[in-house]
Symmetry: C2
C-alpha cells in the first residue's frame, strides 16, 4: 500500500512554523520579513502564481509588495525597478515573475538582481554556491522536494535516483542537491533528458524517480520499480469535457497506474506544486535573517 | 585495438594554436595576455604545479608573474594580495595555488577573487554560470576532458556516462557539462561516489567512464564494458622499489588490464593531467579578450 506525499498538509504545517517565527520576530519589536514581487503584463498563469505568493505571505505574517507594470514596459524601466528593489533596505527579497514578455531580456534582468535578495535562487552566484556545497537560497522546486523527503523521513543515502528533465530550475539543481553529502542527499543520481536513449530501462532501476519534463502521464507503470518513491513535478492541462473548466490538471506520471507500485508518491495537484511557495517563504525568512546579521555586524 | 587519448600530443597542438594567436595579438601592438600565480609555502607538489604553469605561459608567449610568500603569511596579507591583483589592469587572470596552509581560509580567499579574473573557474559565480549554460571560465580538469573528447571527435550524444567522484573541481562540474545540450554533451550522466552501492554494475553499463577518485587502479577490467571510452583523472603515487624515485605514478584505472577492452583510453601520466594546464591558458586568453571587449565598450 503506497503512502501519499501530501503537499497540502505539509505546506500548511511549514507555514504554521514560519508564522510562529514571524510572531516571535515582531514580538521583539522588529518589522516582519518583506517580499516584493514584480509582475509584468497580464498572463493569467503568472497572475495566479503571484497572487498565490502574495496570499501566502499574508498567511505567515510577512509584509509583501506587488509591483505591476504593463506588458510594453521597456527593458530600461524594468532594470530601474530591479535596481531600486536592490537598494531598498525595507525589502529582504524579491522575485521577478517569469516568463517575461518576449521583447525583454530575462537573463539581463536575473543577473541584475542582487544575489542577497534573489529568493528565487536563480542568480548564477546562488546556483554556484549551491553546486559548491555552500547553499544560500535554493531554487523553489528542488528545495520543496528536499523538504518532502526530509519531513517524510525517506532514506536517500546510496539510493539510485533518476531525474527526468534537465531544466535550470528543477532537474539540474535537484541533481546537484541529491548527489551531495548529507541528508537528503548521498544519492547516486542519473540525469535523463530528451537525448537519453534507454529511459524505461533506467527508470525501472530507480529507487527514487523524479519526473520533471512537462509531458502528461509519460511515466507509465512499466517504467517504475516495485517500492519506488515517485516525485511528480509536472503540472499539465489535459482536455476533459466532463470537467468543470473543460480541462484537468495531471502530472508527468500516470498516477492511477503507477501509485500501486510505489512506497511513496506525490499527487498532482496537491503535491510538489504547493511546496514551491513554501520554499519562497523560507528563502525570504532566511534573507531577513541574513540582513539582520549583517546589520548587527556593521 | 584501443586508441590512446594522447594528452601530450594534444596539449602540444593546442599550445601551438594559442602561441599563434598571441603572436597575432602582439603583432597588432597589444601587450600579451598576463597570468599571475600566487604560491604560499614550500609544498613540493604545489611548487611543481606552479612551475609547470609558468613554463607553459612562456611557451605560448603569455606574460606571467609568480607571487611567492612564506607559509606563515596571515589571512589579511593574502587577502590584500588578492585585492591588488583584482585591481591591477595589467593582469588578465590569476590563480591562488591550492591547497593553502591549514591556518588560512581557502573559501574566503576564493570568494574574494574577482570572477572576471578567476581563470581557475572555482568562484561560485563562474560555477553558477556554467551550471546555467552560460559558461565563462570552466574549471581546468573538466575543460581539459571536454577538449579531449572534442578533438578526438568522440560521440557523446545519448551515451551513458558514469563519473566516479563528486569533487567540486572535477566530478561535479564535469557531470553538469556532459549533461547539457550541445557537443561535447547530451550524455545521460550518472554521478557515483563513496556512498554508491552498486558501482561495478553501474560501471559496466557506461559507454563513457570517468574515474576521478584518487584511488590507485580501483577501476578493474571486470568493471568496464567492451568498447568503452575510459578517462582516467587519477594521479597516484604507488611504491615501486625498482623505479628511479622509489615510486611510480598510476591512475585510478588499472590501465594494463582495462585498455584492451576500450575503444579509447587516457594514459597516466600523459593524459588528462597535461590538459589541465592548457585549460588554464585558454581561460587566460579568454580573460584577456573579455577585458579588451570591455575596454572597447567603455
Amino acid at each position: 500500500m503506497y503512502q501519499l506525499l501530501d503537499g497540502k498538509a505539509l505546506s500548511k504545517t511549514i507555514k504554521e512554523e514560519i508564522a510562529r517565527e514571524v510572531s516571535a520576530i515582531t514580538a521583539e519589536g522588529s518589522r516582519p520579513p518583506h517580499l516584493a514581487a514584480v509582475l509584468i503584463g497580464e498572463d493569467p498563469a503568472s497572475q495566479a502564481y503571484v497572487r498565490s505568493k502574495v496570499r501566502s505571505c499574508e498567511q505567515v505574517g510577512f509584509q509583501s509588495s506587488l509591483i505591476r507594470r504593463p506588458a510594453d514596459i521597456s527593458q530600461e524601466e524594468l532594470m530601474q525597478i530591479v535596481r531600486e528593489l536592490n537598494e531598498n533596505p525595507d525589502i529582504d527579497g524579491f522575485i521577478v515573475q517569469l516568463p517575461l514578455p518576449a521583447h525583454l531580456d530575462e537573463d539581463e534582468v536575473l543577473l541584475a538582481i542582487a544575489p542577497e535578495k534573489d529568493v528565487d535562487g536563480f542568480h548564477p552566484m546562488n546556483v554556484g554556491l549551491m553546486a559548491l556545497g555552500m547553499p544560500r537560497y535554493l531554487p523553489a522546486t528542488p528545495y520543496g522536494i528536499l523538504q518532502m523527503l526530509e519531513r517524510y523521513e525517506i532514506p536517500t543515502e546510496g539510493k539510485n535516483c533518476l531525474i527526468i528533465g534537465r531544466s535550470n530550475i528543477v532537474g539540474t539543481p535537484l541533481s546537484l542537491l541529491l548527489s551531495r553529502k548529507g541528508y537528503p542527499g548521498n544519492c547516486t543520481v542519473t540525469l535523463a533528458h530528451s537525448r537519453t536513449q534507454n529511459l524505461p530501462e533506467l527508470a525501472r532501476r530507480a529507487d527514487i524517480l523524479v519526473a520533471a519534463i512537462g509531458r502528461p502521464r509519460m511515466v507509465t507503470a512499466d517504467m517504475v520499480k516495485e517500492g519506488a518513491v515517485v516525485i511528480d513535478v509536472g503540472i499539465n492541462r489535459v482536455e476533459e469535457h466532463t470537467a468543470k473548466r473543460g480541462y484537468r490538471l495531471v502530472g508527468d506520471v500516470d498516477f492511477e497506474a503507477v501509485a500501486p507500485k510505489c512506497s511513496y508518491i506525490t499527487p498532482v495537484p496537491g503535491g510538489v506544486g504547493l511546496m514551491t511557495v513554501v520554499s519562497l517563504l523560507l528563502n525570504t525568512l532566511k534573507a531577513f535573517k541574513l540582513r539582520c546579521q549583517t546589520e548587527v555586524q556593521v
